[in-house]
């Protein structure tokens, strides 16, 4: 029984990280119809930003402060990925709006370039990030069942990001502009919205969320230049499965992929589990070709 609970917990944990990554992808695909293959590298940016914050703390600040570095590194990873995303949007992505296939190729190239850049700066081997001591250990529910604090922390972090995203999209003027552009770009523009500004803001925020995901990944294992590529395919499947245009679709998609991944791999083997997940997705898309939330958006018609 405990094993099942643990697997369920792992499934939710995997889902939460996927959700954080897929949120950014879903908004850029839904709003600008751009497939951003470099999204995985923004995860890497966030992860290395965390690593750098740690190095700075170790080098320049008293060791008693070290445990607090992680809170700061969440902000640092968001800021780093946000700024790189903004730059990327200004110099490249904005020329690719509405051209999904071109954007796929171009951002793939950007991703490779960013990976190589990281290799040149930090070296090819993976680096480890030391977790703060307050995240060591776990919450013992019963004798055999321990939920690691790190995983619980990530869950909380994702819940917080999701809440922030929800408030931003549905409760602020900027979010209202974003939804208007997503639903009807031309009309939004005719009513005075600067679609350029909304687009770059949306892209940068999506990138920033990927950065936070990278920061969370440093708690789970060592990080390297190609860390993003492990997650990008699954994240795209979340977007396809969930549909675009509403947050809830992405949440359901992430839960679907994360849980089936974990459970199938537990019941069968790692590779057979993956095959089964793909089969499930293919079957689901036969039933609902537009994903879980089929919001008719003009950009996709």
């Amino acid at each position: 029984m405990e094993v099942v609970w643990l697997q369920l917990f792992n499934g939710i944990s995997v889902s939460s990280i996927l959700l954080l990554i897929a949120l950014g992808l879903a908004v850029t695909f839904g709003q600008m119809n751009v497939i951003n293959m470099a999204h995985g590298e923004l995860i890497m940016v966030g992860a290395y930003a965390t690593y750098l914050t740690q190095q700075l703390f170790q080098a320049y600040l008293p060791s008693s402060w070290f445990d607090q570095y992680f809170l700061l590194s969440i902000l640092a990873s968001f800021a780093a990925a946000f700024l790189i995303g903004l730059l990327l949007e200004k110099v490249l992505i904005r020329f690719l709006y509405g051209r999904p296939l071109d954007s796929l190729l171009a951002t793939w190239g950007v991703g490779l370039a960013l990976q190589q850049l990281a290799r040149s700066i930090f070296g090819a081997p993976n680096v480890g990030v030391k977790s703060p001591s307050w995240l060591e250990g776990g919450l013992a529910v019963t004798d055999g069942l321990v939920f690691p604090y790190k995983r619980l922390f990530i869950l909380g972090l994702v819940a917080l990001c999701l809440l922030a995203m929800f408030l931003y999209i549905y409760r602020t003027a900027a979010g209202r502009r974003m939804r208007a552009v997503m639903q009807n770009r031309d009309m939004a523009a005719c009513l005075g919205i600067s679609t350029r500004r909304v687009d770059s803001m949306t892209f940068a925020i999506g990138s920033g969320l990927a950065g936070i995901a990278g920061c969370a990944l440093t708690l789970i294992g060592p990080i390297g230049p190609s860390i993003g590529t492990y997650y990008i395919v699954d994240a795209f499947m979340v977007v396809v499965l969930g549909g675009v245009g509403k947050l809830i679709g992405t949440v359901v998609g992430a839960l679907g992929i994360g849980m089936t991944n974990t459970l199938f791999e537990f019941w069968t083997t790692a590779s057979l589990g993956k095959v089964l997940v793909f089969l499930c997705i293919v079957a689901f898309l036969q039933w609902k070709p537009k994903g879980f939330v089929a919001l008719r958006t003009r950009s996709l018609d």
Partner: protein, 232 residues
Amino acid sequence: MLTVEQLESGYGESLVLRGVTLEVRPGQVVCLLGRNGTGKSTLVKSIMGVLKAKAGKISYDGSVLTRKPPGERARSGLGYVPQGREIFGQLTVRENILIGLEASRRRSGDEIPPAAIERFPVLPTMYERRGGDLSGGQQQQLAFARVLAAEPELLILDEPCEGIQPSIVDDIRDVIRSIKSDGRTAILLVEQSLEFVRSVGDYVYILEKGSVAWQGEMEQMNDEVVRRYLTV
């Protein structure tokens, strides 16, 4: 105030407008007529910037708009009610009107100005409903409230009475008449009903094959003109 000179525009490779020249003066109601497919909607879309002009010049209040994005045109005082209304279906009625405020030059936060809705008493009763759930006539009223929120100086209306029930058509026409009688807002009106055009219009342009075939004061538009350019 709005001048269009030798405008050429169209969709993709195909050219629809071939050298259109037109002018709207402050407070004037200018009607744009013509049979189906003569370029009326293409012209208003090009004026708003939804379609890019291939040649020619569009200027408004002395500044050249030809290469400006639609958002900037809206913020300089142009308001647009498109054919088919184009309400944001997933946004609430309130949010739809607040989006209209984006073009306003004196922002008042998240409050809907009373001037926007005074002519549509039914709208405040459905603020929290989604725009997509409204009937066609209600959506048309919402489209008007949305564009009036920014207090535009020039209102561009593309067939505002198309596809809605007759009683609401009368309401919409009353709204257009009252905007005209306020005298603060000029109107560029695309409309099929000659009788309505005669009752509100000051000046008429008739398009044929993408260029202006006839223009003149409303009184000059006699039966001969109508038979030649408008009857099918």
